[in-house]
Amino acid sequence: MLSKTVAELATALATKDVSSVELTQAYLDRIAKLNPTLNAYVTITPELALTQAAAADALRAAGKATPLTGIPIAHKDIFCTRDVLTACGSRMLANFISPYDACVVERLQAAGAVMLGKTNMDEFAMGSSNETSHFGPVHNPWDQARVPGGSSGGSAAAVAADLCAMATGTDTGGSIRQPASFCGITGLKPTYGRVSRWGMIAFASSLDQAGPLTKSAEDAALILNVIAGADARDSTCLDIPAEDFTAQLNQPLTGLRIGLPREHFSGGLSGKVQEILQLAIKKLESLGATFKDIDLPNNHLSVPAYYVIAPAEASANLSRFDGARFGYRCENPANLEDMYKRSRGEGFGDEVKRRIMVGTYALSAGYYDAYYKKAQKIRRLIKDDFDTAFKDVDLILGPTSPHTAFKLGEKNSDPVTMYLEDIYTIAVNLAGLPGMSLPAGMLDGLPIGMQLVGPALSESRLLNVAHQFQLHTDWHTQRPEV
């Protein structure tokens, strides 16, 4: 039962095969058993979950159920949850009981989803392996010596290990897609502005976007239906009409043109990952899609530009953590400046401090043009590459990550090595486009993710292609033995 998709569970709840209370208790039992090893959750909320589940069962009995009513969900600990600890992977917020709910949390709750708890993550979403978390790393359910990816690593591991039916995540440079790839699940980063950022602790505001981590593309569509849409409290949230993202799922792929970026199939890509992607391409061809090679000539500049823009925005966003109004405050500050410096110095981990300093440097007098303005110009070149590509093709397909999940500790000695992990995902955030990762095969017992990228607001099409692929393959149904 616990490995079922949201769509399957919705049917089981509707036909009264199971109640939400029973389902929630079953997930809570599994969490109690497996979380001590996986460390996917940092906060578990059993009482709240069972109260919400009972309310969901009552709603259903009253004939007021939606597709997500009574379905257990895990929220990345970057989303504010009223009266529940929201630590964002940081010592800085290890005592932060949020006074309000994020828009995403609010909407899922209104749809009747049941919150099981909050998932582990890289500190302030800065990382690609979950190893920067103040609460210790998450272990990949497929091989506990390996990372789950990051920064939404706890959410991805929880979905893969059946510790929830679905989870939320955020993606600033690949933080939904890369962990989805490493854990063998489906992850969707919507178009920038599709989903409100209100109540989502800000990392880089021109790049951050919330999205679902799920067991199928159909489930991702069901969640996006609930969380997408205008929100007056986030001025960057797009003011566009609601859409039913499940409507196009069953459309045939005949005539679909997919581009294969040469830059994504060369260089650091593992040969075996390449072979497995070729099989996925053949499968999509058999379903009616046609393929052609395309170029994204500035892709190699995406990591450099990102590591100016994201830290610059982070240095501004994280200035709010000053020890004055909430969060960590150092012991016995000598004066105001000492309070700021020690609260921040002790409250933030090394990677966060590094990025704040890179951002501060890039924005400081005399360096602004050489770094920040230059990076913004490169950002446009990267976006122009996509615009050009989408004149010839409907979607772009490639690897999500250069390889399968790496070992804990393998890449965290040098920050730049870790940064290059996101070479295929970062450009998508810089251009504000929707992208998703879905399981495309296995290599030595570890999942491999395939990335699909579309033009702005093409989520329905991406989900359609992913759903059709999943109807004809079973990679997404494989589960680790934990």
């Binding site: 005592n95 009981i97 006074p99 920038y192 502005g193 021109s206 001025s235 960057t236 003011d239 500035n298 500049l301 990591v303 450099p304 530009a305 590591y307 100016v308 020890g323 004055a324 109004r325 909430f326 405050r329 500050p333 000598a334 004066n335 105001l336 400046e337 000492d338 309070m339 700021y340 410096k341 921040r344 110095g345 002790e346 401090k353 590094r354 704040i356 300093m357 890179v358 501060t360 440097y361 400081s364 050489a370 770094y371 303005k373 230059k374 990076a375 913004q376 110009k377 490169i378 446009r380 070149l381 976006k383 040098d414 920050p415 730049v416 940064y419 251009a431 504000g432 486009l433 702005a456």
Partner: protein
């Protein structure tokens, strides 16, 4: 661009971050490595390119200037490190 200890101390001060003296050298080296990677941008001619601040070049949406929030001071201050009479307490600023 290689950063030295003085640069790191200056940046850490601007960012109001305490970095211990024993860590300064390592921080300088790691940030230097990051800046070396970032410097790949410098070889690209962008003289004819307009900077892009927002994925869709959109501008900030404005809302009507009306009061929408209610007073939640006591509730919001429950999580503050130190308060008194509705004010946040910090170390003495003026002697």
């Amino acid at each position: 661009m290689a950063l030295d200890n003085t640069d790191v101390e200056k940046i850490a001060h601007l960012a109001r971050l305490q970095i211990s003296a024993s860590d300064t050298l390592e921080v300088a080296q790691r940030i230097t490595n990051i800046l070396d990677m970032i410097d790949q941008m410098q070889g690209v001619d962008t003289s004819q390119v307009a900077p892009m601040a927002h994925p869709f070049d959109a501008s900030q949406r404005l809302r009507p200037d009306v009061v929408t929030e209610t007073d939640q001071r006591d509730y919001l201050q429950k999580i503050a490190p130190a308060t008194q009479d509705g004010l946040y307490l910090v170390p003495k600023v003026i002697e």
